[in-house]
Amino acid sequence: MSRAALLVLADGRFPAGGHAHSGGAEAAVRAGRVTDAATLEAFCRGRLHTGGVVAASLAAAAALGTDPVELDRAADARTPSPALRTVARRLGRQLTRAARATWPHPELDALAARFPKGAHQPVVLGVAARAAGLGALDAAYCSAYEGVSGPATAVVRLLSLDPFDATGVLARLAADVDLVARDAVEAAGRVRAEGTGVLPARSAPLLEIAAEAHAGWPVRLFAS
């Protein structure tokens, strides 16, 4: 395993299109539910323990070599919002393109051929981690961390929040990210024997509802 490869994949500047998405933060800011660093932290913590742990476990399972088609179905079942399914596939397609250019690998080629419109992003992330020579825990960390760093960065722009405060939020979430990554890998390790039903399925009702509303806005700063 190369620790530097992990830094490349986890880098917010990795050209996979994530910067255009707020992870639901734009809708939460508009609704007045995220107004400062404290509410951003609560938002990120809630997201991390719901969609975050689901995504991290999918990424970890894909990194272990679980069939991406099975995992993509499991992701669909855990993403009731059609707006969020569309976003996950668009981000998956962009990540596939970036990862194939960065770490050419037959499994990435096969994934691109099987899902021309994109597989769910966490599934692609896991396969990309394999292609980069990384492991399941690396994939889970990448997924869990980007699930909170995306909203934190977006809120800096949306609220003109002090970037130092946003980074402080991420630092305070470190223990939760550790926990989520460990849980995700534990669940992913059981998929081979027990099927994808063992993957976490925790949901955040307001994120789903707000994602549907946000998709209908005529003007918005972020794509989701």
């Binding site: 539910r33 809630g46 009731p80 039903g197 976490p200 307001l206 509303a213």
Partner: protein
């Protein structure tokens, strides 16, 4: 639960809790109606047939005592065989309460519907009282061509009360393929942020409707938002999920009723 536990005598008062089952089996009677060859309950889970309408058989779950309490394990199984029409309701809300022992409680619901069957699972609210700790597992298995209307409503605490711990997982399979798998975890001890701006944001009632109609395969319902607190979401399959949050049970029910009406008659 393993097969070993399944084979145990139906009613076992395990240390710290009651184990109880209810079973309903509905069959098309061949004359355009639905019969109920199995209608069994025990202890705190009683089932009664009530007046049906048309070809539909109606069953009411009647709580003979309050519960589930900490340590209890209830299992309700309802099956609509091919062509049968079954509607299951409950006479009152289910109240999760703390038990004398500090054990958690479990409530399993297993729903099955065969080809051409129509299953309606419409119990009253589940209220998570302060100090309670309940896991609800609802598993639905539908044949291709079966229809389903399922409603779940969770109310966090009685009026003005802190909620208990509640975890509720709902999975729906159609023709063996999972189209919905979601879990709601809330209350003290739930993973962080459950009541924050990404979770419930202070709402004290949350609910889901799952609607499965074979016609949705060709013509899925449009995704739409109803007010600030509800959305109709077509799933990846011939099914739709309505998710709603509200300040209280009454407003939650209104949101869900409105969402169902917006899907039109089938």
């Amino acid at each position: 639960m393993g097969t070993g536990a399944d084979r145990r005598v139906d009613r076992v008062t395990a240390p710290g809790g009651v184990r109880a089952r209810a079973r309903v089996l509905a069959r098309a009677d061949g004359r355009g109606g639905t019969s109920l060859p199995v209608l069994e309950g025990e202890g705190p889970l009683a089932v009664r047939r009530t007046r049906g309408s048309g070809a539909e058989a109606r069953v009411m779950l009647v709580g003979a005592m309050s519960g589930p309490l900490g340590g209890d394990h209830f299992t309700v199984t309802a099956e609509a065989a091919p062509g049968a029409r079954l509607r299951v309701g409950s006479a009152a809300a289910t109240l999760a309460l703390p038990g004398q022992e500090k054990a958690d409680a479990r409530y399993d619901v297993r729903l099955t519907a065969g080809e051409g069957a129509d299953l309606r699972w419409l119990p009253e609210q589940l209220i998570s009282a302060r100090g309670s700790d309940l896991y609800v597992g609802t598993r639905v298995d539908l044949a291709a061509g079966a229809r389903l209307l399922l409603r779940e409503e969770q109310v966090l605490g009685r009026a003005g009360e802190e909620p208990g711990r509640l975890t509720s997982r709902l999975t729906v399979r159609i023709d063996g393929r999972c189209v919905l798998d979601q879990e709601l975890a809330c209350g003290p001890g739930a993973p962080g942020g459950w009541d924050g701006p990404a979770g419930l944001a202070g709402h004290r009632a949350v609910g889901q409707l799952v609607v499965v109609r074979p016609g949705f395969a060709a013509e899925p319902p449009a995704a739409r938002v109803l007010g600030e607190g509800a959305a109709v979401m077509p799933l990846a399959g011939p099914a739709a999920l309505v998710t709603a949050v509200a300040p209280d049970a009454l407003r939650l029910r209104r949101l869900l009723d409105g969402a169902l009406a917006s899907l039109g008659r089938d």
